[in-house]
Symmetry: C6
Subunit: 198 residues, 6 copies
């Protein structure tokens, strides 16, 4: 696990912004990048184009959708094979899904994307932005398509905001089903596995 | 019941993945498969195609919907008759329903599918992914079409997550109407039939 | 009342299934059927066809909607007149309403159906499947069209599931307005008219 | 007030049914009708036709909408003028509004209907069927168009069902703003003006 | 402030009805009207016509929308300039917004209307009918376009109905942010600025 | 930070109104404007035009959308470069988003707008009007596109209104995650960083 090559696909920001945001953690991203153990693909341009029609674009420049989407999958596959990548982080899939308004197109693109990542043989970690209450969760296609789902909650209880983590599914692995408080520390997300949220 | 031949139709994953996920249980799936008592149909390819139009497909390959859907029913029937199958597990019907966006088409395909399973004479166990709160349940066609409905809840109460099971309907059989806590054990789902959820 | 001829119209299941499901009750359905006091109409085939267009059918066979719907009304009327039926049970009207997606068509068919039952001069008991919370009831056309509405609730209170019955309306008859617990017993639904639900 | 002529327009049921339902009250409807002080218009036929298109009708007979609607207004006006009617009861306006699915048409017909009643110079009492919770009331055009709104609630509190009445608006008249329990008695609705609902 | 000329634009009722409804208050509306300090515009006719198409009108008479709408703005401007009006009351803007079903048209007409009132240089008081719970407020264009928003609530708490007022925004003016009980008295709305609602 | 040139883009009101509204604070806006340290762009005209079609405009004058939108971006860029602007306040982005009804167009214009501000190299502060409850937050594109999100809440708790501030995200900066009470004072928003909201 340590020592394996990882690929970070940024869909919202330029990799330089991502790296700068991660500087508050005790991770040697630069060192890993220099050793070729950490690779970045900048896919933030995809967000600026819509997946359904180029005629709707309110401003000049245009990247055709299918090629952009297909190209991203091809680029990921090429990097994975050429650099022996074993882990992929994709952040956030929300950018990709925002390209589509029509339900069926969004659904097919999402299925195609998750299938492509699964076919790559890598372990993929995908982030998705949700804004729903703990008690009113709805069906989310990206959760349905994943083998594991970890939820990061922002709970509000008796005047306090509590950040909590919950493993909702993790196929084939027995795991803690409770919801646990966490905080951001210099080593990353610190979970308090014996504490209750309130 | 024990000794009867069962058929597992996987709609989301390849049967190999399903078997691997089941390894944490004390079930001799491999042994049953070798004796011909446990059969698998891989229908995970259906998820990748949409039921309404092939023109919408965002990537090359295409399986025509009607043939795919009809073919699945034919394959199930052939295996059921040829192998004297008495029990069918279908997991999850959600994959099938995601193929349709138009309400009427989805409804007809679902009715056709449940009728075909009923006509097979087998006892079928069908899983469906829901994300609704306990207090805000809506009409679900797949529940309406089933003779029995068992709900697996993830409840959140005073800072604790509780997994609970509820038999919502079981036609012609008197049953416990309470909601009961459960956990995953090595023998499968372990229900605590005398405990309350909180 | 006892001694009057009754008609059971099954819209979801074959009458044989319905009779089998009723075997846990102390009712002599077979005896009544032999004496011609209990009649059955199997209308479960209607569910398989949609009310709006035959072109949408995802599988071969097709029963045209209008004829199917009109035919059911005609058959009911013929049996009512020929056999001097005084009571009709129709179970469930949900199957009929699922035939329609377009709001206006569903509404008109429902009005036509309730009017036809009212015109028959019989007392009709119609079941409908709802999934709504006690506090978030919406307008339901079938309730509006009925002279009486009896609700069967599944309440969840402090970790317990409670089955409760409520008479929401019963035109021209003064009745208990409270919500009361009930259970299924060998004589049918047993209501506890002096108990509170919690 | 007593002694003035009243008109009861029935939109859901035949007047005979309405009179039968009112027999549990100590009101001499028959006497008043014989003296010409109580008149009935049977407009229950309007419910069976839709306001938007005759082509959609799932069964034979058809009453054209505009004429049906206009005819009702004309009949009401003729009776009001010819019989010196001062009070109109219209029960329920829901039947009229169900004729329309398209929002703008429903809105215009409703405005036209309320304006016609206002122009008649009579005091009109209109019933409308709502199913909303006390805390989640939405904008209702028929309430907006009325000078006074009286709500009949069915509240559920700690296991009890409580029927309560609330005057939500009564233009130009100062009134009790509290919500009060009521019951049906032989003289009509009996309000307990000093009691709280719970 | 006292002594300035005011204009009351009635969009729902005839000015005579409005004046009659205000008689329970100790205001000398008639005196002010005679001195030319209080003016009325009857725009209740606008409600009867729809803003989108005349073909939809279910009854004869028709006022074309654009002219009706533009005419109202012109009339208001003419009266404001000719009579030196400094204050405008417009009651209720809901009537105007009900003319539109299509979202964009309603939005543009509302913006145009609020801009015209702002351009008149007068201080305008606009009423709007809302039916939303205190905890589930949504974005309302008319509130967004106003410099100040005062909400009149009908709260339900432990069996009591409480009428309360809340200043939600008042640009450039520091104000009480609490929610306060009020009642209708002979001098108008009486707020209890030191009381809590419960 | 102090001493850097700022640009205030007003989308809802004329800059003069904005300055007048800010007079209750101890800020020397006029002085800063005279020294060229505070610049204003009046973009309130954009709100009056819709982004989708000029044919819908209910009144005469018309500014074509694309040019208006593109022109705003060009003007901002010109001022930023010519005056060495380092900070931009844009108030409120809601006006811009109201120009669009069609989901995809609104989404693309919003992405284009946020990208243009990011490309300017300035730190931008953008206000947006939301009306959602604390417990029922939904996905908001403008929050997703921002590096930091600060929420101003109006909470209602036990009869009291409490204004509270919450930092929901601030990329790359560790911050207080609690929700804190605030009030408007002469120096601006005063947060009580050690207090709880209740």
């Amino acid at each position: 696990m340590l020592g394996e090559t990882g690929l970070y696909v940024t869909l919202d920001e330029h990799p330089d912004h991502v790296k700068r945001n991660l500087q508050s953690y005790d991770w040697d991203i630069d060192g890993m990048e220099k050793k070729g153990k950490m690779l970045f693909i900048d896919a933030s341009g995809l967000r600026r184009t819509g997946g359904e029609s180029d005629r709707l674009s309110p401003y000049g420049g245009s990247v055709t959708d299918v090629s952009g989407f297909t190209e991203l999958l091809k680029t990921i596959n090429k990097v994975v094979e050429g650099e022996n990548v074993r882990r992929i982080a994709l952040d956030p899939v929300t950018s990709l899904m925002l390209r589509y308004v029509e339900e069926l197109k969004k659904r097919r693109a999402t299925v195609a994307f998750f299938d492509a990542l699964a076919d790559s043989g890598c372990t993929s970690l995908i982030t998705s932005e949700l804004k729903t209450s703990l008690m009113d969760r709805r069906f989310q296609l990206e959760e349905f398509l994943s083998h594991g789902v970890v939820l990061l909650h922002t709970l509000f209880h008796e005047g306090n905001v509590v950040r909590a983590v919950q493993i909702e599914k993790m196929r084939g692995i027995s795991h803690d089903t409770q919801i646990r408080p966490y905080q951001f520390g210099v080593t990353g997300i610190e979970v308090f596995p014996r504490d209750k949220v309130f």
